[in-house]
Symmetry: C2
């Protein structure tokens, strides 16, 4: 493998999103918690899909979205995730490579299809995700290529992969490779329900391996079982070198060493679909971080990227983040 010299390597669930608008009643009547991510099996995926309105298919996957954001800023990103040799797998691989994200994972021929997330977008622009993981959940240590991961300065992991022990082993392997190569390990907690299901395992990994932690308010308070954001902030600073904690329209708080910076959310005229907001926040932050920008700049780049992605349907940027970032860069 040629020296890729990547800024960030993302590892996560390789998914194609099926995005459909619906009313609140549809979400309620299908027994899902609005704003959350629920894992569903084949049968449930089929019955929910039958009930859903017409959809739009777009490549997704949390960490993959983040990598497209980094590429859109002009950073060098790579991705590791498991797709099948099928049409949705082709779409997923194409859409990553088309924006310049290095993706070398070979499609699996295991008779299990590429995963997809059925995303219900309600009139309040909230997204509720119902994810059929398909072959994505079979990610295992064998899928982690040493040279590929070592070529990145930051390895970025998504909490969504948590529900499978083998994926956790893959994470541990990637973290070890990254640290041996002198890189940093970043993690997003992804979903508060996921954190609640695997709190101890999350805490262990955060304490032992994670240098840069991303979380929203619900996730970080769930992780530390505290009622208040400020308490969670104190806790996370004990464990991680860098913490970037998002608070929706109230912006975010970023802590590095002795420095804590409050970052405003970037103004948005009309929120169309919040899918990808956290993913793109991480993209902006990690792009800034790997370029060596100061903390306030990293935070602003994060806010700008999150703001772009929530103005339209879909979890990946539709405009050049490099251009949007120009006014914030030295």
């Amino acid at each position: 493998m040629p020296d890729l010299n990547l800024d960030v390597v993302g590892i996560g669930n390789a998914l194609v999103d099926v995005i459909t608008p619906c009313d609140d009643e549809f979400v309620t009547s299908h027994g899902v918690v609005k704003g959350s991510m629920t894992l569903i099996d084949t049968e449930r995926a089929e019955s929910l899909y039958r009930a859903m309105g017409p959809g739009v298919e777009m490549s997704g996957g949390s960490a993959a979205n983040t990598m497209t954001g980094i590429a859109s800023f002009g950073g060098r990103a790579g991705y590791v995730g498991k797709i099948a040799a099928d049409q949705l797998g082709d779409v997923f691989a194409h859409d990553l490579r088309a924006v310049g994200v290095a993706f070398e994972s070979q499609p699996a021929r295991l008779g299990v299809p590429t995963g997809r997330s059925l995303i219900l977008v309600t009139p309040d622009a909230q997204r509720t995700m119902n994810t059929y993981l398909g072959v994505a959940e079979l990610l295992n240590p064998g899928d982690i290529d040493d040279a590929f991961v070592a070529s990145g300065r930051v390895t970025y992991l998504e909490g969504y992969l948590w529900d499978r022990p083998e994926a956790m082993e893959a994470y541990r392997k990637a973290a070890a490779i990254t640290h041996s190569a002198g890189g940093k390990v970043a993690l997003t907690l992804s979903d508060s329900f996921c954190v609640e299901r695997h709190r101890e395992a999350f805490l262990d990994l955060v304490a032992e391996e994670v240098d840069i932690l991303f979380a929203n308010e619900a996730e970080i308070t769930a992780l530390f079982e505290v009622a208040h954001f400020d308490h969670a902030l104190i806790e996370v600073r004990r464990l991680c070198e860098v913490a970037a904690l998002t608070r929706s329209e109230r912006g975010s708080v970023v802590a590095v060493d002795d420095e804590v910076v409050a970052v405003d959310a970037a103004p948005v005229e009309r929120v169309a679909d919040t899918t990808g907001a956290g993913d793109l926040y991480a993209a902006g932050f990690l792009f800034g971080f790997t370029q060596g920008y100061d903390l306030p700049t990293c935070g602003r780049l994060a806010s700008v990227a999150a703001a772009e992605v929530i103005t339209h349907v879909g979890a990946r940027p539709l405009t050049s983040l490099a251009r949007l970032a120009e006014r914030y860069l030295p």
Copy 2:
């Protein structure tokens, strides 16, 4: 089969659209004519897709788009087209049924995938379509179910199916069934290049079978090999009971028996993507026609539907056309 009692049955190429924005230079450098539809083979589809930016997948197919428009107005629509038993075929079938279009064609297991159209949208909102027909082009008379077609008051055919003799035979069969059942046969010429390739065959079908003809200015002048729209209008009125001729932002001209009505285009603030404009024009017109509305109302419904679809990316309505139509209905 239960009595479906359909307003319109559409027959056409069952396709999933892969829509991607690009600049004019990309279109030129890939040797396609802007605004046209070009048929491409597997190899070309793969190389063009590799060169394209990230895409959005949405169900398409000209006549299928028209049927979703009729359903959105509250009409009863059915569709006949050939999909494969694959992921894109599932998406296509789902998206039709999800809006209430009757679709009973069984997925084919012939080793040929569901067709797709790679649609390049330039900054001027023009779409250039590169269509890999896949299994769609294998439509043949055996796919035409007598009872299904006979249940519709209008059978709507797309000119895009023209390039295969067996599809033409399927058209002839569907037209015969429709006329025997007392229904009308409608045809859209679809594409001026397609008309030029098959002018004589088009003229024969129009003269022998078509009651309602849809065409834009380029298509209708190509059909009659005349320089001026007005001459084409005279010619078409000799051959068809109803003609609806579109002229982009200049609106359309609708002729029935002795009546000729000029219809204004509905105002559009910003054109995002012209894909589906003609398809939705036909939807509005045929909905009005099958509901027995007068000619000016049919024309206005057509304009309203076309205007909705060009304000966003994708060739199917995103808002209820029934609601948009309220102010135009008696």
